[in-house]
Symmetry: C2
Subunit: 286 residues, 2 copies
């Protein structure tokens, strides 16, 4: 049984509970981060800690712990649960005031709720799926307007994953005003004539930590990066397509709405970026 962290206590997972009055439960008033673990170390912890602070700040929530304290809990959970490859999930909510109210509680009276748990995923780096690639479908983007804040409002992404499954695919790319925003839990890319194309940052997409790292590595490797919107049709005709996220790293996409991309085979750019990303992440992990 896993040991998880809830508000200062390390507990067996079946004893890990929150009040029914927690605003995370009643109002989706919370944010989260997922940090990968490779070789028992945390990948880009600093990036996740930075984005977490931004999410909290956008929602007028104070950070309940500083980065070193947060890092310590991450590391302790990795140690207690013997995680070699996997991830650490962190969620912070606006806490559990005595009653349900749309008005934010006074933070002096209602401390934030802090929850962390691990997921062990042996084979995360060597994932054979990365040699096959995944299939995606396009769905309408029905999410709220501030996707740059990493909130727990994940119902629609979860529905999107089910729509993909029902269509015999692995994931869904969301479309707004004719252009792809991102995947259900990842950023979306295409490769055309050697250039890597991915949507520009804004409130429409999550500012992926893995996205930032992969684009940095791509530029360092002298690849051309274009940050702009693209359509499903453009993606279907691209040389390659792929997604990035903290837990899939770089994952090739070989089919979009039933149309093969790049002949339906994993391409060299996604493959190379995945190698570079995992190699560099291992080196920099803490």
């Amino acid at each position: 049984m896993r040991t998880v962290y809830v508000n200062g206590a390390y507990l067996p997972e079946d004893e890990a509970k929150v009040s029914i009055f927690d605003r995370g439960f009643l109002m989706a008033d919370g944010v989260y981060e997922v940090t990968s673990v490779l070789g028992g170390k945390l990948v880009d912890f600093a990036g996740h800690a930075e984005r977490l602070k931004r999410s909290l700040s956008e929602l007028d929530m104070a950070a309940p712990m500083d980065d070193p304290a947060l890092l310590e809990v991450h590391r302790e959970l990795v140690r207690l649960n013997g995680i070699d490859e996997g991830m650490v999930y962190l969620q912070i909510t606006r806490g559990a005031p005595g009653d349900r109210d749309f008005v934010f509680p006074d933070p002096e009276e209602t401390p934030a709720t802090v929850v962390l748990f691990t997921q062990s995923k042996p084979g995360l780096a060597a994932n054979p799926g990365a040699k096959q690639g995944i299939k995606v479908i396009g769905i309408e983007d029905q999410r709220w307007g501030r996707r740059d804040i990493k909130t727990v409002q994940l119902l629609y992404p979860s529905m999107g994953k089910m729509m993909a499954k029902a269509a015999g695919a692995d994931d869904a790319w969301m479309i707004e005003d004719g252009h792809v925003t991102e995947g259900t839990s990842n950023n979306a890319y295409i490769v055309k004539g050697g250039a890597i194309i991915t949507r520009h940052l804004g409130t429409e997409i999550l500012h992926g930590i893995t996205r930032a790292a992969v684009l940095r590595f791509a530029r360092e490797a002298q690849m051309v990066v274009e940050e702009r919107p693209f359509t499903i049709e453009e993606a279907q005709q691209a040389d390659e397509a792929f997604i990035t996220s903290a837990t899939t790293f770089v994952m090739p996409v070989v089919e979009i709405d039933g149309a093969p991309v790049g002949g339906g085979k994993v391409g060299p750019v996604a493959t190379r970026l995945r190698e570079i990303y995992i190699e560099e992440s291992r080196k920099a992990a803490v």
Copy 2:
């Protein structure tokens, strides 16, 4: 201390908890209803039970209890907590599978989570605020696309309430494509030349139970009802404005974005509709 209901058990509120793996907490994968209590009886329980079933069905969730069983829990909580005027809050989530996953859990293995609690609000019907009216501001509607499903994704409405508070107002009306959708937790109306104007039903707004009842009473009283979108400017120039919800019934709006509506005084149509609604609701309460 209140007695609340969690998955079959009646518990003191400070013992009422859910797993951190509950999808309501991790993914906002849950729906809710709020039913008012007048004279110790439930207002329009059948309407709320019907809408609950629709919300569940739209999210591919089975109803964990039938209507008589749900009514019994509502009544038992009203009795145990001695509620004369107030409300019963009900939330159903897709339950707590063993781990976090965007894919829906098998409902055979993961039962829904069912939570109910009461809020006592003496003076709900005689609320003196209804003689003063409230002030609202207009804000951009940033919510997801399926507002007809009553999900717990209430972060933006909650933020909207805080924006209203910061502006010295009581609530916010949300604006999409230039037209008012609804309030943060209520439907929005204006009165013009004797006609009651409120946005038509669709995925853009919640299908208010109080809205349906108030429009029915209005039509029975030979008032003209127009179901169509309106702008903030049209609302500011209207004869009256008001909101409806299960817990505010009919509440006059006397100021919109700083502009007085109807001379800044509560008007006769809202006043009359409030009287009729409360009178009829008392009669029909169960």
